[in-house]
Amino acid sequence: MDLIIKNLPILIVITPLMFSLIVAVLPNQRHSWFLTNLASLLTLFFSILLGIEVSEKNLISYHLGNWPPPLGIEYIVDKVSIIPIFIIAVISCLASSFAHNFFTSEVYNNLISKTYSLWLLTIAGLMGLVTTADAFNLFVFLEISSLSAVALVAMGSKVDKKALVAGYNYLILGAIGATFYVIGVGLLYGVSGTLNMSDLSQKIPELGLNKSVIVAFTFMILGIMVKAAIFPLHIWLPNAYAYAPSPVSILLAATATKVAIYILARISFTIFGTSYDIYSFESLRYILLFLSICAMFAGTVMAIFEKDTKKLLAHSSVAQIGYIILGISLVTKAGIASSFIHLINHALIKAGLFMSVVAMSFYTFKRIDATSISGIGRQMPITFFAFIICALSLAGLPLTVGFISKLYLIKAAYMSEGIWLPFLILLSSALSLVYIWKLIEGLWYDVDKNNKLKIKELPEIYIPLLIITFLNIYFGIDAGLIINSSYNAAEALLNGIK
């Protein structure tokens, strides 16, 4: 046990990594599914232990291969990174237990074991992205997670060949993003001679006003903005989410962009936080603020006019990412805390929505589009109930998590920018009701279609869904845990700025 506690930061990365290698060579799909679940459960268990450790120690530093930083690679788990670790662990656990029926019907038979392997590899990559404190190691994990995610998206080609195009777009844009990031890291390494994040944050201010640093900052931020799908750079996202196999949509929607946003915060606060005054990066926040407002409205409007259900949810993700970035761009404690609150809550909401929508499509044996699941709500009361709860949570109804995040976001926006920003947030929330109602109307009132299906809801599909719905309500009523951890994270991040 002592051995486990000592090695927790690496265990959450290598557990899915090693299991993914074992799963890849297993011939039996059922066994691969079982091992995938085992790996996700172990990762969740280690994450919980890690959470307990962090609450006592504040910061855990782990030196890979006994090489001390800044030379060796350092892994850091602190009050900031524990939030995305928990999001990944919980969502991957629920989505893996949910995945089996979908992968059997949506992926070519001989590729199912490999799909599970890629699935675990994505989780390992995301975990690594969150824990690593080395700027170049971060790039390696960026590649691991996005390349395996691309392959996962392309696995949807059995249902619709467009998945290949979607995967290809994701690959090209993701590669451009990663290249931009690594160019930035290269420039930083050239001027400072170090790759360790905390070491970088000490060495950059010593350089004084340096043009390479400005270019490096721009490249790194732009690269990560592609990965995080921030408004004008979100083009890859709707198709990738829409044509991926259903469980993959859930995993990517709930974790991949969240982790990219976390990295954005890490780069701008941990690496460059100390040099804010020298370069007056502070003023750059207005660019992010502007982009996030654009994202809020563009995403919502695109969702309103979208016919394909999965794409609609993806467009809504673009809008929600706008809210999260808005919080970060305020650069106040309340603002960053509110963005972390929404980071967690949006993962819960979107995972629930995607899960319920794909659960409905499972029984029609068709890819979800405008009409294939209309009117199905009446025949699937449990799934539809979960869908309604998550949809209301997205709109921000009291007693759900969506309300908590909107409340804190509006409060933070009002405190730093005055009345106009809360007004815009409320306006876009009100607009989001339009597409939510469109979904509900189609699913419930369109009784003529799909009324001949005899549907018996499967417990292995609705139990994970109900768990996530329960979390949506539970953290809407007792939000103390989320709010406290988000405020701790915001405080830890802002400590970097001097």
Binding site: N7, I14, V25, G65, N66
Partner: protein, 143 residues
């Protein structure tokens, strides 16, 4: 390709290429070389064989399933050596306790890890070659 000269030359070259690959592999500890280069060199031997004798003949000496298994095994070896260090009470990927002294431990660790890298790189190259060689336009068959 039914050229006798090519076939004979390939047969003569096949083993020395692999031997050279192994030299680069194990020389990697002391000088230029290592798993990545060695893997590509060894894979070149198989690819040459496939180009001269045909992909089907090459699949007899390196079946697709064995290829995939070795690919995974290499990566697994890398991770597993790291875990051995972890079980012995050191951080992940620390090789100090693998041998009797610190130096020999590092030596054994690097040797095994590089061998894993070589195995994976070699089989990834062959796997890529197979998938492009088997590619047919307009076919929906998945291999």
């Amino acid at each position: 390709m039914n050229n006798l000269i090519l076939k004979v030359c390939t047969k003569v070259l096949f083993t020395p290429i692999i031997l050279f690959g192994l030299y680069v592999q194990f020389h990697g500890d002391f000088g230029p070389g290592g798993g990545f280069q060695a893997g590509v060199i060894v894979a070149a031997a198989f690819i040459l064989y496939a180009m001269v004798f045909g992909v089907d003949k090459c699949k007899i000496i390196m079946p697709t399933k064995l290829n995939f298994f070795l690919l995974v095994l290499g990566a697994f070896l890398y991770g597993f050596v790291g875990i051995v260090g972890l079980i012995l009470g050191e951080p992940y990927l620390s090789y100090d306790l693998l041998g009797s002294t610190k130096q020999s431990g590092q030596h054994i660790g690097i040797l095994l890890v590089e061998f894993g890298v070589g195995l994976t790189v070699c089989n990834v190259m062959i796997c890529l070659f197979y998938s492009f060689a088997n590619f047919k336009f307009g076919s929906n068959k998945n291999d």
